[in-house]
Amino acid sequence: MGLEAPLALFGLFAAAIPFIVHRLRRTDPVRRTLPTFALLQQAEAARRRTRGLTDLLLLAARVALLVVAALALGAPFVLARVPFGDGRPAATAIVIDDSMSMLRGRGHNTLLARAVARAREVIASLPTGSEVALVLGGAPPRVLVPRSDDLASVERALEEIPATSARATDLGGAVGLALQELRASRQSERRLLLLSDFAPHPALATDAWRLGAVQLVIEPLGDGTPGTNVALVATDVRRGADRDALVVSVELRSTGDAPPRVPLELRRGDAVLAKGEAMLAEGAGKAQIEVSAPPGGEDPTAEVRAVIDDDLDADDALGVLLAPQGGLWLLAVNGDPKPATDDDELRYLARALELVPEAEGVVESRQVDADTLAQHDLAEFDLVLLANVAAPAGPLAGRIATFVRAGGGLVIAPGDHVEPRPYNAAFGDLLPCHIATVARGRSVGFATAPPSVLLPRGSLGLAQATVDTHLVLEPFDDAETPLRFTDGAPAVVSRGADRGRVTVLATTLDADWTDLPLRPGFLPLAWALVREVAQRGGHTLRPVHGGQSISLPVPPGTKRLEVVAPDASRHPFQVRPGQLSVAFDRTQLPGAYRVFASSGSAALRDVPRAAFVVRAPAEESALGPRSIPATKRLGNAGSDFGNTVRRSLAPLLFLACAALALLEGLLRAPRR
């Protein structure tokens, strides 16, 4: 406790006034006789019996009034600890890191739970008139509650933050959103509270922060140490030696005092499908678990779990799809094989597919020559690519057509072995166009094409490519022509065929007819062709990070799509006619997601090929050491965990003065 104006305490001497007045009145009083003195004595005795206490209280009240008034004028204050701020209304943005590393902890005492509790404490301590915004720092960052002065509703919104997460961290983006919310506030005091474990993933790009007058408060949660953690960081599913078996490869990383042996279980729900064990050395380990492949069409979702007690439970399990992983199974038929040479028909395509980022998908391809095509079961594949392959014979063409109509994809790339008339005859109306002839002798380029479903990036990177020879394609009415040559002739024609899709290229995938394979635009073009054509009937097993949006292909004829999350929550979507994909962004939970589709009134059927897995980035398992921004570089930044503020007692004391004055009046009243 302290005093703003300590000199006012001299007023305490005024407390002696009642005594002094009382003494002055007692000294040298007027003297007089009264014959009824005895009655006066009796009256005084009686009065003292009844008023003695009252007089004492009156004196006490008067003295107390003077003392309290003097204290009030001294403006006393007490130091109070406020959870946040200085007790004055302000605009506050609270950034809560809801990435996976914030799930560190035991039971309900995770860092995320503590962050939410801290946010609740801060909101509850803000005075009326304050504004609060809530921003979540897991990737992608998002505003949970825009700036609002309804503190109660903001506090209730904290309950919407899920207790689990598979998100990466994007504190930089979250701070940017928070600063946007604060910028429009009318409050002169603006603060940004950052609640995170500040695990070292990724490094915060604080240079881009423009705090201005915003006071940054950083509150690291947890002790910032790496701790003891075993994380499942990757899985891979391959076909075993037995075609009915799958081998699930698991990659682990560890920190701290992790045991050398980590038991693993492959589970679907409560059922343990298989067990394994990983050996850890120098912070890493691998394991392989063999399991029977579920029959086609059955639920492929499962979970690999490390049976271990460590500092972060969220990375002890990974969702897995019990299906050959690789994203796409491509059967590439090489019509002009020249292995290990630049002239090989599929050299450039294979190279391009290898360069596709894993985040966009994985393609498992098998190259065969035209002679061995008939020996392969096309059902194992999602896409058949015929590169400079002569028109297949009737039965094979029939098998290919059946494959396509059942949902497979077919890409036909020309070459010297591709003759228009045989192809037209072999595939008939399966093709999206009529192959007219081969145009030679005139060089053309690729015309600028807007983004389309088949070519999401349009003609990006194709501007400098030239084509010397190309097929002349005559698209059918219902075919798409996403790309043309500069002379207007179709360069790519595509069309659905029942549940599958067929795309015909007008030029080669090697450098025989064009320098396209040598141009930057070849890679995205090749990937788009493979992915989009196969998407129609197949599925992609590319990993999805928590919070990311995934584009789910819509099986042909689908009118209703439903996604089932790992917690069994269902997310329905109505599919518009012609809609080819559905964007799904409720990927907060880690694990395997299933997709169901219905063509209308029919019951929902499982679409195993559409299932996908959500997992956190591997770097989220690195729990420490923490990386806290050097706040001094951030201008107005400060770090405090609650402030000591002065709370004036003067109002209370003045109120007490009023009460004492009232009491003094009441005690004095009967004396009149």
Binding site: V30, T33, P35, T36, F37, L40, Q41, A46, R47
Partner: protein, 317 residues
């Protein structure tokens, strides 16, 4: 009736100052018409206005009795015979003169005027008794004067000569002895032993004797056939206690003092005073005496008129 010259009340030592002014001409004139009639039958030396306990020849018919041989035939009531056919003799009351004893409380508590000489308690009591004495002597009654404090201090014997008033007034004009306490019991007991036959006893006192037996002599006087009247003489300051300023109040009959804020204590004081006066009234009535409050700011003639008028109607306070 010649008023006695006076010095300021209370000046000088005991008995040394000149007698004070007791009965001025104005008061005397105003009370001259009043008459005192003894409530009870008193004995007197001579026939006068007051009833005698003895029946005899007089002009006031008292009662009839049956004629007995030897009665004076002049006393036969022929009208009664005509009405009742019975022989009856008239009996008449015999009037006599009143003997009155006027008793003034001369204790120190009576020496109070509250700063207003015209409301001096002792002077007021003396004037009251002096006026009464004048009335009595004027109607041929005998009056005696007595001054009491701790005992019967001074007395003048009862006389019926008109010039006896001066002696009475001179007695009452003596100043109060300072620091003398009011002790009614020994004083009134001495008085009762000295006055013999049935008489009128009028006491003017503030009765500020808190002894439980202070007024016991009144019963003794009553038992001896005296008609006792008590004037309770009190100053307005004592009755109303309307003082406002804080003061140190001192006991005129002792050494005690008390610092008092009058407004703070007024209600309690008045309550005590009321209890005291009620007790005095009760004791007087219980002793067979008559009680009347005499405020010193009330004109003497009004007090006497009230006292004698109530007497005429047969009731005092």
């Amino acid at each position: 009736m010649t008023p006695v010259a006076a010095d300021p009340l209370g000046a000088g030592s005991e008995g040394t100052s000149a007698p004070r002014h007791v009965l001025d001409a104005g008061v005397a004139e105003r009370v001259a018409h009043l008459r005192v009639r003894a409530r009870h039958v008193v004995e007197g030396l001579r026939s006068g206005l007051h009833r005698s306990p003895h029946r005899g020849a007089s002009v006031i018919f008292a009662e009839h009795r049956e004629y007995r041989p030897g009665d004076d035939l002049r006393l036969l009531d022929w009208r009664a015979y005509a009405r009742s056919d019975r022989h009856a003799i008239k009996r008449f009351e015999q009037e006599t003169h009143l003997r009155a004893h006027l008793v003034l409380d001369a204790s120190a508590s009576m020496a109070y005027d509250g700063g207003r000489p015209d409301t001096h308690k002792s002077a007021h009591g003396a004037t009251l008794l002096g006026a009464l004495g004048m009335i009595l002597l004027a109607q041929g009654d005998a009056a005696a004067g007595h001054a009491i404090d701790v005992d019967l201090v001074r007395s003048v014997p009862p006389r019926s000569r008109p010039d006896h008033l001066e002696a009475i007034l001179r007695l009452f004009a003596q100043p109060v002895r300072p620091k003398t306490r009011t002790q009614l019991r020994p004083a009134l007991t001495s008085l009762a032993e000295r006055i013999g036959r049935r008489a009128l006893v009028v006491i003017a006192s503030d009765l500020l004797d808190f002894d439980a037996n202070a007024l016991e002599p009144l019963a003794l006087l009553k038992a001896r056939g005296h008609d006792v009247r008590v004037f309770h003489v009190l100053h307005p300051d004592e009755l109303d206690f309307a003082l406002r300023d804080r003061a140190r109040f001192e006991d005129p009959e002792g050494d005690g003092w008390l610092d008092v804020d009058p407004p703070a204590i007024r209600d309690a004081y008045r309550g005590e005073l009321a209890k005291f006066m009620d007790e005095c009234r009760r004791r007087c009535v219980a002793a067979g005496a008559r009680y009347l409050v005499a405020r010193t700011d009330q004109p003497v003639q009004e007090v006497l008129a009230e006292a004698l008028g109530r007497h005429r109607r047969g009731a005092w306070g």
